[in-house]
């Protein structure tokens, strides 16, 4: 991998993080008085004035922007109004819970989506294929907050086998992870099916079969490996969607992650915290994109790293 390529990708990543931060900065200022967003309606005029000075809102916009960039580059988003702690550390305190949820959901998606997609491709146009694709379409059309409610209703309210909310033990993780992963499983199986179908009709698969390579070998070494290339890129994108979806799933299950925190922060007008969480989320997204850029050429040597 050439240093130029790495530099370019890192530059792109920095650009995106800068862009998101700047949008948030601009949006707060465009809305009028940001301090009015932060304080309660009952706050006195001198209280508002003090806060305005504390946050530097009494200075000119370009000056504010420079200070903002300086602070952000140090990871300083100001203090959370509700927790009276640095906003970034409040956000990062919930990061692991969200990551665990997203990774488990990814696991669920792969565990369900891979076998379903491969089976559907191999048994193409059979009842099995139709059923797999029908449930994929159904999965894509079902919002997570509803499948989550149904899951709570079945497993917590009626059958009492799993807890409905919270996040203390692994048992609390099962329902949110399955709910979040189910949506992606649908997409994974569809993509894998069409990728497998495409590879199955490739010349090298026919050649491998013709020269007498055992079916299982053909499948593992030729078909699956090639089908997985296109699925990998899609999985990264899916992971980014899962992170976003975590916001809803965490709210449904009162799971103590960053997503639920950001909804609460909007409700309590904890603006510095919203800003910090948006920053952490976009940082994660950019990081996953970088990761796939590095993984992709490794999976598929035909793609040069120096694109």
């Amino acid at each position: 991998m050439s240093p130029r390529y790495i530099l370019r990708k890192l530059g792109q990543a920095l650009f995106i993080v800068w862009g998101v931060s700047t949008i948030v900065f601009a949006a707060v200022r465009l809305s009028g008085d940001p301090v009015a967003l932060m304080v309660a309606d009952t706050a006195g005029a001198d209280e508002v004035q003090a806060l305005r000075r504390a946050y530097g809102f009494d200075r000119s916009i370009p000056a504010q922007y420079l200070v903002f960039l300086q602070h952000v580059s140090r990871g300083d988003f100001g203090e959370s109004l509700r927790f009276n702690l640095p906003a970034l550390s409040v956000a990062l305190g919930r990061l692991s819970a969200t990551l665990i949820l997203a990774v488990s959901a990814m696991g669920v998606a792969v565990l369900i989506g891979f076998p379903a997609g491969i089976l559907a491709a191999v048994r193409r146009n059979t009842l099995l294929d139709r059923m797999a694709m029908m449930s994929a379409l159904l999965g894509q059309s079902t919002p997570t907050f509803w499948s989550g409610l149904l899951a709570i209703l079945l497993f917590a309210v009626w059958w009492h086998v799993l807890p409905a909310s919270g996040g203390e033990t692994w048992r609390h993780l099962v329902l949110p992870a399955c709910t979040l992963g189910w949506f992606s499983a649908a997409k994974v199986s569809r993509i894998l099916r069409s990728a497998t179908l495409e590879v199955l009709s490739a010349d090298y698969v026919r050649t491998a079969r013709a020269k007498g390579v055992p079916q299982s070998q053909v499948f593992l070494k030729h078909v699956l490996r090639n089908a997985l290339i296109s699925v990998t890129a899609m999985l990264t994108l899916e992971f980014q969607l899962l992170l976003g979806g975590a916001i809803i799933t965490e709210t449904v299950f009162s799971y103590p992650g960053m997503g639920r925190l950001v909804i609460q922060a909007v409700g309590t007008r904890d603006y510095p915290l919203v800003q910090a969480i948006v920053f952490v989320f976009s940082f994660l997204l950019v990081l996953t994109s970088l990761l796939v850029d590095w993984l992709y050429p490794w999976l598929d040597p035909r793609i040069s790293r120096d694109r």
Partner: protein
């Protein structure tokens, strides 16, 4: 695969049972959205507290006056679902149209007018990838306050990117084709070439993308209402009904089931029709 092998690929019967069912569902939901008062006489906003948590018809305590039961404030669940169709479909339609227009215009500017436009617009599109829809909506809701306008703004601001990418990519390949070069050689202005020669070729693909995006937008709108960022109570919307239902799942399961059925039925129908459109209009997109 050659056309000779699959002579009927992408054709076949127009009205399969799936398409028929999907069309009927969408027709019904559209009528709900346009004229809900013709469907149900019950008030979707005001209920009788005395009649709260009535179960649905067929269960002990259920009655024909509330076929799907009542919620915690004694409001008729069926009436709220019928009236809730409007925000979902309205936000979906407006957002798809605006995002489509914005995206196509941006894609054309980027694809046709060359490098500087291209760099700026695709740079913005890249930033948008780092700023997923829900976060955008949350930021907007924090700033301009929650409501339908927030939902539409968030959906448009995030929804334009696929159209822009697609339009740009198609433009770049079409620009080199003979019919465009012929139009240029005979002195057609860029606007004329765009509108008369390039856009018509893009429309089938755009229709397919818009259909799937419409389904997506309905889900996202109800997600926003669920999070309290979209349609505000007491006005009914499918998402906020589910959010309410979360608090009394143990006593009134029906309040949490039927609004979801409405969402899934609508979105599934749009997706089924989208699949068919894709087969008919744009075989290249199949399997995506």
């Amino acid at each position: 695969m050659t056309p000779a092998e699959f002579p009927h690929a992408g054709r076949g019967r127009l009205w399969t049972p799936g398409i028929l069912t999907a069309s009927v569902v969408l027709l019904v939901v559209s009528v709900w959205a346009i004229a809900p008062h013709l469907i149900t006489g019950a008030n979707p906003v005001r209920g009788r507290l005395m009649e709260n948590f009535r179960p649905l018809l067929g269960f002990p305590g259920g009655s024909i006056s509330h076929p799907l039961g009542t919620d915690g404030l004694g409001r008729d669940v069926f009436a709220r679902i019928v009236y809730g169709a409007r925000p979902s479909l309205l936000v979906g339609c407006i957002s798809v149209i605006l995002a489509g227009l914005l995206g196509v215009i941006a894609g054309m500017l980027a694809g046709y007018f060359g490098r500087s436009w291209d760099l700026i617009l695709m740079g913005i599109a890249d930033i948008q990838l780092g700023f997923p829809f829900l976060l955008m909506a949350i930021t907007l809701a924090a700033i301009i306050g929650p409501g339908l306008h927030t939902a539409i703004l968030a959906l448009v601001l995030t929804g334009w990117v696929p159209y822009a990418r697609l339009t740009r990519a198609e433009l770049l390949s079409m620009r080199e084709q003979q019919f465009v070069q012929a139009a240029q050689a005979t002195g057609g202005s860029p606007l004329h070439i765009m509108v008369r020669h390039i856009l018509p070729n893009l429309i089938p693909t755009l229709i397919v993308v818009a259909t799937f995006s419409f389904a997506q937008m309905i889900i996202l709108e109800s997600a926003l209402s669920f999070l309290g960022l979209g349609m505000q109570p007491p006005q009914p919307s499918w998402g906020s009904m589910l959010s309410d239902a979360r608090n009394y799942l143990t006593t009134a399961w029906w309040t949490g089931v039927f609004p979801g059925v409405a969402i899934v039925a609508t979105v599934l129908s749009v997706n089924v029709i989208g699949e068919r459109l894709r087969e008919v209009l744009d075989p290249r997109l199949r399997g995506l």
